[in-house]
Amino acid sequence: MILIVNTTSETAVTKKIKEYTDAAGIETEIFEAGEMDISHCIGCNHCWLKTPGVCAIKDDYEIILKRMIHADQIWVISDTALGFLNHRGKNIYDRILPLATMYLQFKGDQMRHIARYDKRADFGLIYIGDCDRDYLERWNKRVALNFESESLGVFDHKELKEAVACMY
């Protein structure tokens, strides 16, 4: 299953993606997070040390988190700000931490948190607005590294066909 989290108000983007994925017979699940109540991560660490795997913030993010553990791929659609994802997009990543445990291990030559679940979802990013694309590519690879998965790439919202080509 391909999980798509659209943090923008541009529902035309997800509509177009759905057209392409339906035509290709790709199973998707889309969250229009731009209309959902999703807070920032407050860094409380409760999801690691107090209520393992459960975020202390009770808002609409929990339903997304519950679907993430079944996804083969996670795609985030975000507006940009100051050359990077805007805060709505970044919040989706910051709140992913319950998928990791507090425990540590080395993967290659770097420390990583041990994943809480068996499934590993690869990460793709679609952005709307001005940004440093090379930097976003680098950042997305680092995100994937943290979850023992692969980066599927970073795409401008005008490159939806190219993005969907990476969905399976």
């Binding site: 407050i42 107090k50 988190l65 519950k66 700000a81 970044k90 041990i114 950042w139 995100v143």
Partner: protein, 220 residues
């Protein structure tokens, strides 16, 4: 020198590791003797009630330090939200950063560090470097001497900033420590993670009232 310090951590001040780091850093910055005459004012991004004041002080000050924890390879969403509300400056203001993380190796923070330089340009300010250091997760889980061992080295960095007004010196670069650990250290740490490390996290969790195993899967 007067420095505006913005604690960019979304965690409340009382529990903020970044705040404990800043306590030591500002101690060195304003130390009697080397830091004579230096002053600072500090605000917390975690307190949205302070945001209007932070914005006012941001435009009023030209010597700014933003201290922040690394959140998923870059800056925390809450700090991003605040920064998005700022207008581009055109009056020679300068920003330096204190970037800290839980992971210990320098390489873990480089992606975040790269963005901070780009961010500064986008804000219309001069970049004065980033003090990069990991291995800070334990600050919240320790007290007394154990905590001091982690935070005390930041005093020297405060003295260094007092001298140079930036984080470009060799001393600041060396402060990061190893980019990656040598293979034998990784081997030893790997064993420690499976034994004493797990026990110490389990103990910390118990003290927080946790009754479940830390690798519990609530949504299976």
């Amino acid at each position: 020198m007067h420095v505006l310090i913005i604690n960019g951590s979304p965690r409340v001040k009382k529990y903020s590791n970044t705040d404990k780091i800043l306590e030591r850093f500002t101690g060195g910055l304003c130390e009697e003797g080397s830091g004579e005459g230096n002053t600072f004012e500090q605000y917390e991004i975690s307190d949205k009630g302070q945001w209007d004041t932070i914005r006012e002080e941001y435009y009023r000050n030209s010597n700014i330090i933003i201290a922040l924890p690394l959140f998923v390879e870059c800056i925390p969403g809450l700090l991003m939200e605040f920064l998005e509300s700022l207008k581009v400056r055109e009056d020679n203001a300068a920003i330096a950063y204190i970037l800290q993380s839980g992971f210990a190796e320098g390489v873990q923070l480089r992606c975040g560090e790269t963005y901070l330089e780009e961010l500064t340009k986008r804000l219309g300010c001069e970049y004065r470097g980033t003090l990069v250091k990991g291995s800070n997760f334990g600050i919240r889980l320790t007290e007394g001497k154990a905590r001091d061992k982690i935070t005390a080295p930041y005093e020297e960095m405060g003295r260094e900033f007092s001298k140079t007004g930036n984080f470009f010196s060799d001393k600041c670069r060396a402060f990061t420590g190893p980019e990656v650990f040598p293979a034998f250290v990784r081997f030893l740490l790997g064993i420690m993670f499976k034994t004493a490390g797990r026990k110490s996290f389990d103990k910390a969790a118990k003290s927080w009232g946790c009754t479940l195993p830390l690798d519990y899967r609530p949504y299976d």
